[in-house]
Symmetry: D2
């Protein structure tokens, strides 16, 4: 049965969104479905900003950062009025299935929508934060880590030349995935993320102690701390100032910011996006609805929308352990005794 | 119990080998073990080229390509004389455990060694080819894909400007992992790898047919074919010439070659290398021997050495299917009818 | 006076061609001129494949490799028939000025054209080879060097891990600009380019001697030779085989090939392209014709078309001297005595 | 005559400093000179932290960011006591010539030193800021532009996906070189730098007007403003807040910060550093002193130290003009009329 599939990208953009749109279009085309995109996320649904998407429209888009369908955060969609307008446009355009590529907020929106619309709704995890259950990796996460890593490697050069302390703030919303991964990958001497810290202020003493211990280690020429956004009240600039005062040497803050969202996706994200986009069309063929597609243990899967955002997703416990062990205080003291 | 752990890197170098050495040294240090490296792979064992490895020696090496311990392929180690010399040096240096970071051939060598030596032997999968069972990814594989992808993206610019056909040969030994992944990630219109092709010559007709079909598609402005090394007799240059003659338009060959082995490892490989290096020390603590460490479904594991290389490792079947479907002939004809 | 300006990109594509098209369009727009592009180089002139180019069409193209106007080599344009068809289309479209972005062959073509057409003709140096007089740098040259360098840096990792000899073939047509620059920038131990070698075969002995000298130097762990394309009969693979036989250790060839043409242009090329594109429009306003724009000593200039390709452009003599001196045989012997 | 040449790197580190040290060592070695390095800039002179530098010590350092000699800013050197200690150590080590690789402050320090010491003093321009007369480019400048550009390209993806306004703060001390170049290269719609703005507050109205004009332009989907550090009181975050309030749409700040100092140098900087390092040794051979080496119009030169920092270095006036013209208000209005 030929269907009309609508696609939107919503919320913070993530590298690989275009690769996913492309896979949806190419796969849908194979089954004879028609694909339309709505621009600017849910806004486009409400405003009926639609575009036809043929295989030619997505040619050579697999490597593009951002999203050719544009994105937005949409307050109107949280209102009944907005929701109703969206449903009307979906019906008017005879849409059979809506695919939303986005993160936590976008999938919550989709969950609300399915209560008011009869069509199939499918979520695809597109966010650099990796904070969704139901998939090992979200589209964009690996690219964001590599972007952060590239910057931290550069900071290491300067940190090392000056034997300095750098505090690097990375993204991740309320989760520590990017912070933990970029810290381990860069050999950062410390990582602070929400899952590891209860109350930042009570932790200050142990942070200071850790830094001073590291500095006592002969030959340790620079220190890099990776800190998750939203962790420290006042942000990393405030923490840098606090540490500078306590330790007596200059600690420099660096906020990586929005560069972490952009850029050509790495192979991992292009492949994941291609697989999940194809899989989304396949389960539309099967008649599924109300689920987010994902990949767990290298196999495609689908989970109820409310499952994916209800609970805090767990960090890899082995990675948490390694980051703590490789640079813990005992280690430092062992080193310093040599 | 304090141990002496020896480390070598062997066979083709892979990005992340240094990150792995570093993790072994830092983790061993935490348990009070001593680490020594032998240089130039098994040659260094035979020649007793040893160096002490302290945490300071591995500082800021996590991002380095190549291997600080050098590597080599070692014919001498396949002889009894070489094997005996290696065992003597291991004993003379009171080595308790030997960790070998390498690929297929290196792990076969380690399997032979364990029959002649009482110490613990641990393999770590370090090869860009990803052709070892017992782990989802080998160290270096993801970086090699991204390096290949970066080149293919550049070729696409030129291919597209000239509306040309490019044949790109990638590495992978006798397996199609790099070819398949870099083809999907680059949106290559065709991928040829050992697992998909029985007899290349009988396939020529279908290759030609596929290209001609793609070219009929209005708007398809360039074609990129990714081909695994060793696949086509005479190599990609020969295939390019054959296709040029058959199709009547110029097909250009490009052999990516050894650039795929070098460069700073991507985050994925640094993290995998750090985890597997740490895990190798942990299972040395447990007294294990004769195994290769790996990571399957995001969990660390260890498998008998002869298991990892005995059977051909399977490609991701879903990825194989996608690569075939996205650009198959039916698809082409659908497109061309529009 | 409002004019109609036509633009084509011709010959081998070069990173920065799009940045140049963009600058032409934005600058022309400022003066109220209309810009049209012909696709596929001179072929598009002959076939009248024209597209209108507005500021919106070139938005966000400054970073794109390749050329949005496509390129081609055009045999038909070397015939009278082709030339006449081109002139007819220029007149039919009421073109006042034609800008050709390309290299040696493309500018020769433009020189021929101006003898048969009354409009203004302006060349812009767009080629990675940097082999045009009348400008210090051609558009695309700096990017090609950085692309080659990135690959050679990666090869160094492997060369060093294996203490190997790598022979890297880079582009440059009949000139050594890319070879010399990428050799100096990568610290290559030897560079062979047309300007430095009269008869390759008589040089073989000195090449072998140089390599053997380098190898005697204690601690010299790898050797990289950069070789210009077209230099060695049979190419770098043949030279590698010859050297392997003579020296007795394996020398590996690596042909960088067409990746050197692609990729996002570096800042230097985007800026140069933007300046030269703007300047081309400015001298069209002044009524100039028959010249190629360029930049010498950081100032924009224009030279007669036949000047720019008539004589072999000279390499930077100081750079030639440095490359020879830093690794000459005397140097080697000094080192080896230590 | 064999000499002892001392080298330091001082002030903010810049990519290419290691390439320059390497060139000094290799060239000096060729003439039989001895090279010693003092670590941590002038501090190392005062504290006599010296290391011997042989050709082997600089092998494979050409591609490294940061500085193997470490750097520092040195307050002690501004005092007589510090100066005297430095002179004593230079004499004690029988140094004939001191080469300082650094920026404005470091060369001022060198100028002071030469009044108290009889040896030869040579400056080399090593700073990302490009704010020294006597050379067209300083070592590190081109790399810093490309690093900034890479980040701005990534921000463009997100800016475009969200149709947002981004304000990007780049480095440059009190000069607009990085801001102007990265703005032109990224196609930024506006650039604010010290040379273009007298009093930022009186400019606010024209900034707002410019942004509003750009936004009226149909199809202009995102706006990027590049702003030099130290320009706006309160920094780019303050300006973003001010603009957000005035324009009524969210303007996001992004401070690129210290990543601009790190990373592997691009080919341009490696080549420049190699030339200037070699040239520094050559003019030491000639007996010159009290000068900074540089390259103007592609030729090596040497200027008195006090010349290079006495006057504000001029931006490329053609580039300033282009940046203003390509996006000026008239242009905008032309566009919006279509």
């Amino acid at each position: 049965m030929k269907k009309t599939i609508a696609v939107i990208t919503s919320g913070g953009d993530a590298p690989g969104m275009n690769a996913c749109i492309r896979a949806i279009v190419l796969t849908a085309n194979r089954f004879g479905h028609q694909v339309i995109g709505f621009k600017h996320g849910y806004n486009g649904l409400i405003e009926n900003e639609k575009v036809l998407l043929s295989p030619f429209d997505v040619q050579h888009t697999i490597q593009l950062g951002g999203t050719i369908l544009k994105s937005a955060r949409c307050l109107a969609f949280t209102t009944d009025k907005g929701l109703i307008a969206a449903v009307e446009n979906l019906n008017k355009n005879e849409v059979d299935a809506l695919v939303v590529i986005g993160g936590d907020g976008s999938l919550r929106g989709l969950d609300r929508l399915q209560k008011h619309w009869d069509g199939q709704v499918i979520g695809v995890p597109g966010t650099i934060d990796n904070d969704l259950n139901g998939t090992d990796n979200t589209i964009g996460y690996q690219t964001a880590i590599d972007t952060a890593l590239d910057s931290i490697d550069k900071l290491r050069d300067t940190a090392d030349a000056f034997e300095r302390i750098f505090l690097v703030e990375v993204m991740g919303r309320h989760a520590g995935f990017i912070a933990l991964a970029s810290a381990v990958a860069s050999g950062a001497e410390q990582a602070l993320f929400p899952e590891s810290i209860d109350d930042p202020h009570t932790e200050l003493e142990s942070i200071v102690q850790h830094v001073e211990c590291l500095r006592q280690v002969k030959g340790k020429s620079s220190i890099i701390m990776v800190i998750a956004e939203h962790l420290w009240p006042g942000g990393v600039s405030d923490l840098a100032e606090t540490l500078t005062n306590q330790i007596g040497i200059e600690c420099r803050p660096c906020i990586l910011g929005h560069i972490q969202r952009g850029g050509a996706p790495v192979a991992y994200d292009r492949i994941l996006a291609t697989k999940l986009g194809s899989y989304a069309v396949e389960i539309i063929n099967e008649g599924q609805s109300g689920v987010m597609v994902g990949e767990i243990n290298n196999r495609q899967c689908a989970h109820k929308l409310n499952y994916v955002y209800s609970e805090q997703k767990e960090l890899d416990p082995y990675l948490v352990k390694i980051q703590q062990n490789l640079f813990d205080v005992v280690q430092c003291l062992n080193l310093s005794k040599k």
